[in-house]
Symmetry: C2
């Protein structure tokens, strides 16, 4: 019958690769049936139980205890195997020895050997990771923090320090990034291109970048932030810095922003920040709900596939270059600040409300989205408001406003006289059944309204959605021409008409995308440029991977301070500071 | 000083065109300064007030009183003008007289003159509209009900009667439709094409159809339902019938479904119904929020522009032809009903959860979207579940599952032994940093799992998302090949992998798109085909418009029963029934 022997080592440090290799070496010894070499976490103990290795002696261990278990044909073999542990580790170490002799023991000395290295990759166990990161920031390096099991408090501390000094803290739990073509951590080999990525999601970044490649697109840089960056506590510090950096990067034409569902306030905040950028941003906040799929330069996608498709399409689109251009605001008088919509089409009015709520606060209407914003009297405008003149209340014993313009003409005149009004939105719906020549009645009224405002030293913009086709009985081109000659700005797309109005009103009222001053020092663009050069602390496979990719990299022969003794290490840290 | 004289006529009926013309005629009489001829609604009284015509005598009128107001240079002129009202109306009537003499006085006689007419357009005042509609349904005609101010109770009655007899009740307050190229009510002239529309929104239908035309696309038919059809009370009766009809129409390849924000339950219901169709459906429930922009054959759009763009793109896409095809379900044993996902990528796991919640109820996970669905023990699967093996709980002192497959191989074996498991989802993430040859370890395990299930007379589907590029160090093609040879179904798109799994599980568990039997008799396809022929009751301009478009149409010389006296009319109605 097989016998199980165990050993517990408290406070011992071995990296994960060593643990895995050690377990395999033990299991391969003659007479050994199975072996476990794990840290004593609940999950690991459960696994030992599943494989029948969880014996009573180890049931009380702690998460930072190293647990060694050997199941062998007899007690002697099991004990003998455990006795070889140090030998096996030493053998592994000596195999690395020749190389390790030349490795720097600290970040500081590594920095001296490779002075161009401005990135530090850190994958030491979570409890040591913040300390190593602080050291890297002290040396003026950007941090790629692969380690998980780092507290939010530590994350916030590190990111604030980074923000003050123009240094990116990517992570903790940041699995992936691509800087100037070089993959850090887990990263696919992606074609170079025009798309930049910011991602609070490791496999999100990987899967979107992979699909971009498969669709024929390519990347400039892909910056991971760690999965908690868009939590309300951290507030997207790294995401902002990364967005700002890619916005200034001349190679990047489109940005893809990916995150697991962020906290609502952090999401609103980061979206406001992203709206202030000059480049199109494809947003995939997995599971995030919005009433509009496009808002200014933002375009929402709900899956990785859609994110990649949208980014690739935008990168080759010429339209994307016209985003967020300044609208001419000359001529408005002080006090002109409201928008009024006079609609004949009910759902056109409703779409206008829906779009404008992303541009303007407090929109009144006789058909409001939010009942609190109902106009007291549909016949009298209040502040910003949209009126549907085709509502039942207006059409008892009266023709629909698409046929009878009386009501609208009267109202247009009233709005033009209001010194607080800057812009009037109108729809003109052509087609069978509608008025045979709406421009004949509306164009003179538009011209008169604009003229009246001019005489009072005001500018009045009249923005028209012209809904019709070239086959409609009214002669669409002639209608458009007449309205434009009267001074109206005519759009055939309701969407574009309303967004134009929204952007103008937003700029006129100086509703800024981000009310806050930037809360960080911008990262130097040069960090992304030139040959990539880094220091790696932790998993050696990351050094190997960087070398394979042709990057300059130096591995630190890191050991926890004081042999992993936390108290002693804290004391050493204090003495250092 | 100008003098105002008024007259109130109770229970008088004039159509809206007559009222408008009468007002203009009065205002044009010599010595008359202004005139108002309106029904006494609050809105109309407000308007009279604005133009200074609201005098005390008419302040107490009711909404169905006809109010006549004349402002003239002196009392005699004003009184004289009012005295001419009947004369002016008579003059107008006699101008129409020659024609009117030949017009049928009832729907029934109109139907005899034009027996092919299977559509009736109704635009009489709201209070008479339900009665005329009932008559039309009695005669076996579809109803296009333009009138507003019809109660929900009446709407529901009419629609139920229509549903029982395969007759469409479009409206009340249905402003527009296009049947076989002929526009009803307000409708634009749109190119014929492959897109069918169903809209509970008049200008929504118009603007989307206009944009479809402008983008080079075209329509088969566009069916309005009235704005309240998707309320919870009406429950989308007409929308269902219209969707079903277009789904059977061989000319229609894509359906666009537009509505003002529907009630939540009505929306869920109609979306479930739409998912059961065999054609792609672009959905614009203005303001509706969803976590996924695409679900099976449904694609969500947030503005009219986007709706038109998506419909036009789908109409020419070949992919849209593959929608909702049946998945082969042979070989599963009774009792096999669960899906298990074993993920190494955290956000890939999360996206899987997000997509699958639209396919399967009750998904457990160690990283659930809804906290109630958290796995009791991450190491033990429950029902349908998705496990992220890269979570912190698994990675203390252990390599990430992208590098170390031990955990996953163990779990894969366990899932394969579970007789309730039908499908296992895996991700395989290639790239720098990941395992150098994942298929070498995973493919044999996949083959063994499938073999084990087969020996127990079960089918086990293993669906793999392979995330990588042709430039990755692992040789993606070889990885895919090895996994496929082992029996896995490999996708490069995470989206498609998960949707495939979702659809298979949904069909396996017979989760039907619509649990309810169809609650209506389907409309005969022939109603849409052949030359359009209709009867019009109400606004004569609709008859003119139909004639212009080349349709066969007959106008009914309709007058309210009993001269508009409601009590007498009700009595007549009773005697008739």
């Amino acid at each position: 019958m097989a016998i199980i022997k165990t050993e517990i080592r408290t406070g011992a440090y071995f990296d994960s690769v060593i643990l895995m290799l050690l377990q395999r070496s033990l299991a391969e010894l003659p007479g050994v049936e199975d072996a476990g070499v794990v840290m004593g976490t609940p999950a690991n103990l459960d696994l030992l139980e599943q494989t029948g290795l969880l014996v009573d002696e180890i049931k009380g261990v702690k998460a930072d205890d190293l647990v060694l278990v050997v199941k062998a044909k007899d007690a002697q073999t099991a004990q003998g195997a455990l006795a070889q542990v140090d030998e096996l580790v030493a053998a592994r170490r000596s195999r690395e020895g020749a190389e390790a002799d030349f490795l720097p023991k600290s970040l500081e000395s590594a920095g001296k050997i490779l002075p161009g290295a401005n990135w530090v990759l850190i994958s030491v166990p979570g409890r040591y990771a913040a300390g190593v990161s602080r050291e890297a920031l002290r040396l003026g390096k950007h941090v790629f923090l692969y380690s998980d099991n780092v507290t939010v408090d530590e994350e916030l501390d590190l990111k604030k320090a980074g923000a003050d000094n123009g240094l990116l803290v990517m992570g903790p739990d940041c699995g992936t990034a691509i800087i100037n073509g070089i993959g850090l951590g887990f990263a696919n080999q992606i074609r170079r291109g025009m798309i930049g990525m910011v991602a609070a999601s490791g496999t999100g970044l990987q899967q979107v970048s992979v699909r971009i490649h498969q669709l024929g697109g390519g990347l400039t840089h892909a910056l991971g932030t760690g999965g908690r960056d868009l939590s309300s506590r951290v507030g997207g510090i790294t995401a902002r810095m990364a967005l700002d950096l890619l916005n200034r990067d001349p190679e990047t034409r489109v940005i893809a922003l990916v995150s697991k569902p962020p906290d609502k306030e952090a999401a609103d905040d980061i979206l406001n920040f992203a709206r202030g950028l000059s480049k199109p941003v494809v947003v995939n906040f997995i599971g995030y709900q919005t009433t509009l799929q496009k808002i200014d330069n933002l375009q929402f996608a709900s899956t990785f596939d859609e994110t990649a498709e949208a980014a690739v399409a935008l990168a080759v689109s010429t339209e994307s270059q016209e985003i967020n251009n300044q609208i001419q605001l000359d001529g408005f008088a002080p006090g002109q600040r409201y928008l009024r919509g006079l609609y004949s089409g009910g759902t056109l009015a409703y779409e206008a409300l829906l779009v404008l709520e992303h541009y303007l606060p407090d929109l009144y209407s006789n058909v409001p989205i939010n009942k609190k914003m109902k106009l007291e009297n549909s016949l009298v405008s209040q502040e910003n408001c949209i009126v549907d003149l085709g509502e039942d209340e207006f059409t008892v014993g009266r023709l629909h406003p698409m046929m009878d313009h009386e009501l609208r003409l009267m109202r247009l005149e009233a709005e033009a006289e209001d010194p607080e009004v800057a812009l009037i939105l109108l729809d003109v719906v052509l087609g069978h059944g509608s008025h045979p020549d709406p421009a004949a009645e509306l164009a003179p009224a538009v011209a008169a309204a604009i003229e009246k405002a001019h005489k009072a030293n005001r500018r009045l913009d009249i923005v028209v959605t012209l809904s019709g086709t070239d086959l409609d009985p009214q002669d669409m081109a002639a209608q458009q021409d007449a309205l434009e000659k009267a001074g109206a700005l005519v759009f055939q797309s309701s969407d574009r008409a309303v967004r134009y109005a929204g952007r103008l009103m937003r700029q006129l009222n100086e509703i800024s995308e981000s009310q806050l001053p930037p809360s960080f020092k911008g990262v130097d663009l040069a960090s992304l440029q030139g040959d990539f050069s880094a220091i790696n602390v932790g998993l050696e496979s990351f050094t190997e991977s960087l070398k394979t990719q042709g990057a300059a990299v130096i591995q630190v022969d890191w050991k926890p301070a004081a042999g992993g003794n936390a108290d002693l290490a804290a004391l050493l840290e204090k003495m250092k500071a």
